[in-house]
Amino acid sequence: MNELLEVAGLGVVYRGRPPVRAVDGVDLTVGAGQVVGLVGESGCGKSTVARTICGLVKPAAGAVVFDGIPVTPLGLRRRPAALTRIQMVFQDPYASLHPRRRIGAQIGDGVRAAATRGGEPSEPAWWLRRVGLEPDAARRYPHEFSGGQRQRIAIARALAARPDLLIGDEPISALDASTQAAVAALMRDLAVDSGAGLLFISHDLSVVRLIADRLIVMYRGRIVESGPARAIWEDPQHPYTQSLLAAVPVPDGLGTMPAPPADEADYPLEPVLR
């Protein structure tokens, strides 16, 4: 069956002495209208996987195929129109918008990207409304908005390009805790409603598991566990996933200390795939 996104045997190596295997033998798929959560701690390679899928990073091994088209790394030329169907929302809301251009113009870039592919025309104001902002925001500049609002603008810009695959690279991490769940849900609903797939990367499991259909857990460049989100959340099988879940403090007021992992734990690298 042809999935929307197929990643096979992906490997990414960063130069250095010694060279770092940021990603090692990663396989994953995302289907149309499906939400896949990619979780792990810092350095596990999840962001690198996201950037490789977009073509921002060149893989050392493996292949990324989007709707049957191999994804080529970004060069000096413009992105081929077919590949603008992959869009990304980045982590830092203070860096993902051009500081000197009006919001409307930036969302307009998204609209134009979709128009180039022959999609139906749309207005930036419409996308602003969809993410819960006033249409007159189009005339304003990024610095006039809060972090949460800027992230919504970034989402509007990405969606205006009518992507079939939306990737969120830690899109909620920089937001206040009270808005994280809401923004994550917004991304899910908007993506799924338009039939797009969503690859949602985060280190925060408690929010991701609410919006994801499937979860993939990464550790040190490899996938250690994957399966239906609910199954993994309620019954993790791999020791790393188990310690990851046990370490998340629950805000229930009971004073339960999160369990620290065993010192220098060496987890088995065979993945548990469901």
Binding site: C54, G55, L56, L74, G75, L76, R77, R78, R79, A81, T84, I86, Q87, M88, F90, Q91, D92, Y94, A95, S96, L97, H98, P99, R100, R101, R102, D109, G110, R112, A113, T116, Y141, P142, H143, E144, F145, S146, G147, A154, R157, A158, A161
Partner: protein, 296 residues
Amino acid sequence: MTVAAVDSGGLRARFRTRIPRAWRTPLGITGAVVATLWILVAVLGPLLWPHNPLGQDFPRLQAPSGAHWFGTDELGRDVLSRVLAGARVTVPLALLLVGLSVVIGGILGLAAGFFGRWVDETVMRLTDLVMAFPTVILAMVVAASLGASLVNAVLAALVVSWPAYARVTRGLVVGIRGAEYVLADRLLGFSALRSLRMDIVPMVTGPVLILASLDIGTATLLLSGLSFLGLGAKPPTAEWGSMVGTAIAHFDAWWMGVFPGLAILTVVMAFNFLGDALRDALDPHTAGVLGQAETR
């Protein structure tokens, strides 16, 4: 609601709010006023000169008096007229020098930062080559080998001035090139060149302009210095540096050297104050003090 950071905003919006505040500092205002005055002197030129700067009509080596506020020099020329006329030489040439350095250094730096690899290597090694020599000495050597003239002095000064801009621009471009909004635009179909023009260049111009405004003083000194050494303006051109150079032989006629010297001093200080005020206003790190406090 979070108070947003002060370093972003439309360029026009920023100038409207930032420049007025910058001028409110006493030094900034002083610098702006003095610099404007000298530019006016340069522009109005002959209208202001009490006498012909080249006319050797007057008694020689007269101390400053009612007739000649700045005295007369060794050939009987009115020093005041010569000092005012000197503004027409030094001020435009200093601005031209800085302008050319910005353009040449900026373009090379942009290319180096953006395309990377061999372009970067070539440009950077070129800047290394030039910067390995002491600035003034290298300028002297180039000016001397080209032959003494104002044009050659500007060329020589240009050779030693462009590398700093190339380095700064390259550094800024390398920093911005990985910014998330730049990547987002590439994903939306911007070509590399379009991204360079719209995403990178606008963010580079601010810091470069600040550097340039602070550099006008240095440019003035460099050009006057070369003329002082006889490698720039040729007699009888009224140019401050060469006037100071001639004055050395007539030490007791102090007015011959002091007034052109003061002219150089005031121009350099004025542009330095102006540059400082501009930087304090536009630099996001210091602008925070004048702008709103960030709360957490």
